[in-house]
Amino acid sequence: MPKHHVATTINGDPIEYLCDTEQTLLDVLRDNLQLTGSKEGCASGDCGACSVTIDDRLVCACLVLGVEADGHNIGTIEGVAEGESLHTLQKHFLQEAALQCGICTPGFIVAAKSLLERNPNPTETEMRYWLAGNLCRCTGYDKIIKAVTNAAAELRGE
């Protein structure tokens, strides 16, 4: 079966690749494009470690086929930092020690960024439900919520 040609935009850059029908977007990112920041934790959309955005919509890359990216804008963890500076969320994750092993961190940052773009002042409950699709086994979520809370406040200019 010949491969499919896909023309897409990833983190603002035009990218073309060839992929098999059955390859997920996560497979393509990690294996074809060496963008290994998105992680595979389950390949069934339950853990959120592969969180990316498609046209600013938060999705699990393991539930999207590589071919579906054609003509769309993909956002991954590799595009979150702003040039030389870390994004406010990344800064707060470090300050609040919101990571221990760090495997879930890219997914959380992409997901939290997506939340704050829609709702700049979420309550703790809103944060927890939005992030319920991102599993963390190390932190118990406490410091992650603190980091997102403080990052949100800083982004609001408080």
Binding site: C42, V80, I103, P106, R137, G140, Y141
Partner: protein, 764 residues
């Protein structure tokens, strides 16, 4: 209860800190790469020409392997290697790897790849390597295995019955007198104790007795096991892998493959969670042999279902607890009899459960008996304080019941019987300086304990104990020409230990922590270090780092002495600089100044320490949990949680808090949600995160922490291990809270909604 209070962490120090770096919260040195996705975990490594490996696994819980036909698989274009147990050497029952790893290599080898029998659903029986993942999947489906399906057994007590299906024909229970002549699934009977429990119970006014059950739960790390192995024609294997110990991986892989240690080099990847589950190996020997056969690097990564089917969960088990006390609350006797599932091969942590269940208490008469039982489940692996949570669940629930019968506050009961310095521990030796009582008092004084409760809400408390270990550790320190310092250790960082190593080095050297660069070396670039586990790294590797810093300071003083033309005894080291005590005016040379001219004074400056660290201080925790139950759905929601622990001295308080919070939430999951569900054929039904339900962000409240600091006299900064204690109290803290809310004793974990509903209904 004010939300503001929930964002607080209290630190109660017994002695004042007075440190410059220890106790502060610098940004972790590996932080930027973790938040930008740059950090390389096991599955992130790629080599040119790399093949993709796949493991073929038994679909049966218990079966004889009659034949394995790999012809069709090998013939598929793109397939470069196929292995089965025939490619692995037979290992004798008494084989030991180099060093003295306390495991059976024979069992390990058979777990890595099944020989005569498949012993659980998911047991590896063969493996292939191919040029693409798709071809590897096709090849795996072409491997033809002929099985003779056998009856299986999943529960420890069922497996102990004389007519139970037998897993190992050569297993005769150890620890029985007379020695048995008929094989069984009980690998060993353990017994511990002090005093005489019979007379202890005779002296009791009140006795509480209950049977408790827990299910096997998985460590649940988000990163599946992954490695890349590259075996080259000179017989050298390089393995990139995420594990809790690169030296352990080298030792175990070399032994299982029967190759020289010196021919295996293990490169530690960042690790995406371990909790004990990655203190053993599954994939590396397979990847090495596939690579050897193919002459190319091979990447082997487990999928999530494989992780659940085939990697160590911890034991499920039964625990029967009996505790007697006088009317005034003095406990006179305690007994525990437990049966733990070991999985397919012996080695459950039932012994450790026996030793730790009564750990926090001063009880003169204790008797604990434990049975290690094999069943057709994956071989268990360590999970954070292995063995202790189950035993403590039983003891702490029984104590809760005892407090009710005595009409005594549960914390007051614990305070009355608390172990302190000089108490004989339930497992025998005498405790030195410990902080258990301080955690109980901190709990009593915490606003959480006196906060009002609403309808359908209940509060539970529980305590826990863990030994913490020391062990072989090494550290090397190199002074760069610009005065910065490299700190090289060889322990994977699973919780922020890199930051603590840098902080301790900075504290001893007297320099800014930003000048210290910690790194984690591979097996060729460092002296041996025991794996990361047992809550040992900050304590034991930290000790090595401090001693390596001492070593560097001696050399720095020697160089300064040369420059000043004085004896080394005239040179002191203070605040990051050498001071000439013989000079009239204050003369000093900073570390950077000495580093800058090192070539002139003798060459590069380094220090090292290779130790077997002793003096680890035990840890104690006391947790308070509030739960609200929904009597219609049976759902239990944790509405408030406080974890209090004696942490010795918190080097980096944020990472210490993180251990308490993470361990507590794992324990809550163990108590409320997590279990393995098998069908009647013994096949796993819930091998994914949807149905194996770990706590998610919306399940949890903030987890308040209190770091009680009773410094460990065995470490210069007073460090105690902290990582494991936090998972012990939550099981009973949660169960006691649900019991209080529902009015019925919960003895069977997890407390899933159907179970709670049926308990409430049967009480009506």
């Amino acid at each position: 209860m004010g939300k503001e209070e929930q964002f607080k962490t209290a630190t109660q120090s017994v002695e004042s800190n007075g440190y410059k770096v220890v106790g502060t919260r610098p940004i972790r040195p590996d932080g930027v790469e973790k938040v930008t996705g740059r950090a390389n975990f096991g599955a992130d490594y790629n080599l040119p020409g790399m093949l993709i490996g796949r493991i073929i696994r038994s679909p049966h819980a218990h079966a004889r392997i009659l034949s394995i036909n790999t012809e069709k698989a090998s013939a598929l274009p793109g397939v470069k290697a196929v292995v089965t147990s025939a490619d692995f050497p037979e290992i004798s029952p008494t084989a030991r790897g180099a060093g003295e790893a306390p495991i059976s290599f024979r069992d390990l080898s058979r777990n890595v790849m099944a020989r005569e029998k498949a012993l659980y659903d998911g047991h590896a029986v063969a493996a292939v390597a191919a040029t693409t993942a798709a071809i590897a999947d096709q090849a795996a489906a072409l491997v033809d295995v002929e099985y003779e399906v056998l009856p299986h057994v999943l529960d420890a007590r069922e497996a102990m019955k004389p007519d139970a299906p037998l897993l190992h024909a050569d297993m005769f229970t150890k620890g029985l007198d007379p020695k048995p002549e008929i094989p069984s699934n009980i690998s060993q009977r353990h017994e511990f104790g002090i005093g005489d429990t019979e007379s202890g119970f005779d002296a009791a006014d009140v006795v509480v007795e209950h049977d408790f059950t827990t299910q096997c739960v998985h460590q649940g790390y988000i990163e599946p096991h992954a490695c890349v192995a590259d075996n080259t024609e000179d017989g050298m294997s390089t393995v990139w892998t995420s594990s809790q110990g690169q030296f352990m991986v080298r030792n175990y892989s070399a032994t299982v493959c029967n190759i020289d240690h010196s021919k295996v080099r293990v490169m530690p990847a960042e690790i995406g969670g371990g909790f004990g589950g990655k203190t053993t190996i599954y994939l590396e020997p397979v990847a090495i042999l596939l690579s050897k056969k193919a002459g190319k690097p091979v990447k082997l990564v487990m999928n999530r279902e494989d992780v659940f089917r085939a990697t160590g969960p911890t034991s499920g088990g039964h625990a029967h607890a009996r505790i007697g006390a006088k009317k005034d609350g003095t406990i006179t006797a305690g007994e525990l009899t437990m049966e733990y599932e070991a999985g397919a091969f012996p080695g459950s942590p039932v012994q450790l459960g026996c030793m730790t269940g009564f750990g926090p208490y001063d009880i003169k008469n204790v008797k604990t008996i434990g049975f290690d039982v094999v069943v057709n489940r994956p071989k268990v692996a360590a999970y954070r304080a292995p063995g202790a949570p189950i035993a403590s669940f039983a003891v702490e629930s029984a104590l809760d019941e005892l407090a009710k019968k005595l009409n005594m506050d549960p914390l007051a009961l614990r305070e009355k019987n608390a172990a302190t310095e000089g108490t004989q521990a339930a497992y025998g030796p005498t405790f030195k300086r410990i902080g258990y009582l301080e955690t109980v008092r901190a709990a009593q004084n915490h606003p959480h304990y006196s906060a009002p409760l609403g309808p359908n809400q209940g509060r539970g408390v529980a305590s826990g104990f863990w030994f913490n270990i020391g062990g072989e550790s090494s550290a090397a320190m190199h002074v760069n020409e610009d005065g910065t310092v490299e700190v090289v250790t060889a322990n994977p960082d699973i919780g922020g230990s890199r930051a603590s190593m840098a902080m301790m080095a900075a504290e001893v050297l007297g320099i800014d922590v930003s000048k210290v660069k910690p790194s984690i070396a591979d097996t060729a670039s460092s002296a041996y270090s025991m794996l990361t586990g047992g809550s040992r790294v900050t304590f034991a590797v930290g000790k090595a780092v401090c001693e390596a810093a001492d070593d560097v300071i001696v050399e720095l003083r020697r160089r300064a002495a040369k420059v000043w033309d004085v004896e080394i005894d005239a040179v002191e080291w203070k605040d990051g600089a050498a001071i000439n005590t013989k000079a009239d005016t204050s003369e000093n040379l900073t570390l950077a100044a000495i580093a800058n001219t090192a070539a002139k004074t003798g060459g590069p400056i380094s220090g090292k320490a290779n130790i077997n660290a002793a003096g680890a201080g035990p840890g104690f925790g006391t947790h308070i949990c509030d739960i609200e139950i929904d009597p219609e759905t049976g759902r239990s929601t944790v509405i408030r949680y406080t974890a209090i622990q004696d942490v010795g001295t918190a080097i980096h308080p944020s990472y210490v808090e993180g251990q308490l919070q993470g361990g507590a939430v794992q324990g809550i999951g163990w108590a409320l949600n997590e279990e393995y569900i098998y069908d009647d054929k013994g096949c796993l039904q819930n091998g994914g995160f949807l149905d194996y339900r770990v706590p998610v962000a919306s399940d949890m409240p903030m987890i308040d922490t209190v770091l009680v600091e009773v410094p460990n006299p065995g470490h210069r900064f007073g460090v105690r291990g902290v990582g494991e204690v936090p998972i012990i109290p939550p099981l009973a803290a949660v169960a006691n809270a649900v019991t209080a809310a529902a009015g019925v004793r919960m003895t069977d974990l997890p407390i899933s909604p159907p179970k709670l509903l049926s308990a409430i209904d049967s009480e009506k």
